[in-house]
Amino acid sequence: MKRSGGWAGFLTGAVFAAIVLWSFATSDMELSRLLSAGPRIVEFLSRMMPPDPTVVTEIVDGTAETLRIAILGTLGAVILSVPLGLAASETMAPPVIHRSVRTLLALIRAIPLLLVAMLMVGAVGLGPMPGIIAVAFHATGMLGKFYAEAIDGVTRAPIEALESAGAGRLARLRHAIWPQMAPVVARDTIFRFELNLRESLILGIVGAGGIGFYIQTYVRSFQYDKAASVTLAVILLVIAIEGMNVALRRHFS
């Protein structure tokens, strides 16, 4: 037993070693290149210094566009997620429907946002529109699932009580189901908006609008000092969003 365990351990180690060696062999990783890159990195960074403050208008415009992408993307996701969430809920839809819709939502979640954004740029051209569509599509994968869970998490007893009192289906949905799921839906939507805002910052790198677009533009045109300003702005925005997230978590827990 112990002997075979030792063999198994040796074999596992050998496999891992082979995987790592294979990765080096095919990745063009040379230590010499990394060392000689030192001065180049210093030069690159020095060209970013000092950051060019004249791009403040672009930063403000880009941030506003990112915000618009996140807002409209979230709105689109909410509109798509309400019917999909209903269809994915165990209590509202028969098994065939809710299982297939759940699989669909999982597939949507599995496609990276940047990939969707690139495809959308190809389909509708540069600008905020592909970003909005990509965010709406990508966020629906998560929001639809969360809405379904909000519906399924509702307590049944008050619904049955209203049915016993003669209240119709719509009245039960409005007065027994909705009051129970509304806070969950609000929380999930706000958290998804925060995530959308975070993800929209870099959408511009693939041409889908927002502040990330300026990073890409300035790096490609070798205006590293301007790129540095925009990068700093993005870092500050990420910190601000992180603060928002902490505040939200405190509020909702």
Binding site: P158, E163, G166, A167, G168, H175
Partner: protein, 262 residues
Amino acid sequence: MTRVVDIDDLDFAHAGADLPALEGVGLGVEAGEAVVLLGPSGAGKTTLLAILDGRLHGWTGRVSVLGRPLSPDAPPPAAARPDIGFIFQEFALVERSSVLRNVLNGRLGRMSTFAALLGRHSVHDLDVAHQAMADCGIGELTHRRVDSLSGGQRQRVAIARCLAQEPRLILADEPVSNLDPARAGEILTLITRAAAKRGATTIFSSHQPELALRVASRVVGMTVGRIAFDHPVGDVSEQEIAALYRNVAQDWPIEAELRLVQ
């Protein structure tokens, strides 16, 4: 005069259960009575009340409520349901809504689909709701959220919602089992008085005989899905009541075990 409740030879078994929940039950209740169903857990009280409320199907026999025969496999028409009020053991309130909203929920069955969806209540609806809350002693809690209330207060909200329905028959399943004895007495008195004031008939279940006998006009004893006795409240003997519970302690488990062995 037609009876409020007329049950004849009612049988019911829960899916997959070895013992029937109700067996050969017959019961007639006249308008204005306050009937208590006494008996231990598993006697069939909850099952019987759920059938009368039109929520439980798959039974056999004949059941009429308020002069309308119930279907054994479909809920009553929506228009008939507000006439039968139900007070649930676990209250079944919408926790995040206000007291008033929960009480007004009792009116939804008497409104048009559209008005009910939008919650556009008439002045009459509000009057009925406020009267129900006043009768239940929760007039000052109108705008409180239910999840901020105590158990006793919640039970009063549940009763007010039922009264707001303006039911002709009030069914209550163990309405005081979650309350201490002092509160339980108050609540049972409240239900039967409010029902009497509105000319409604009451059927409630309880396993606290001493409290129930103080407010009921008639006592129906149940064990293992059968009616053991059925008397006006003055004719019930302590021995009869004690026998209901003794059966559980001795005979029932043996009978159940024998059936399980088979």
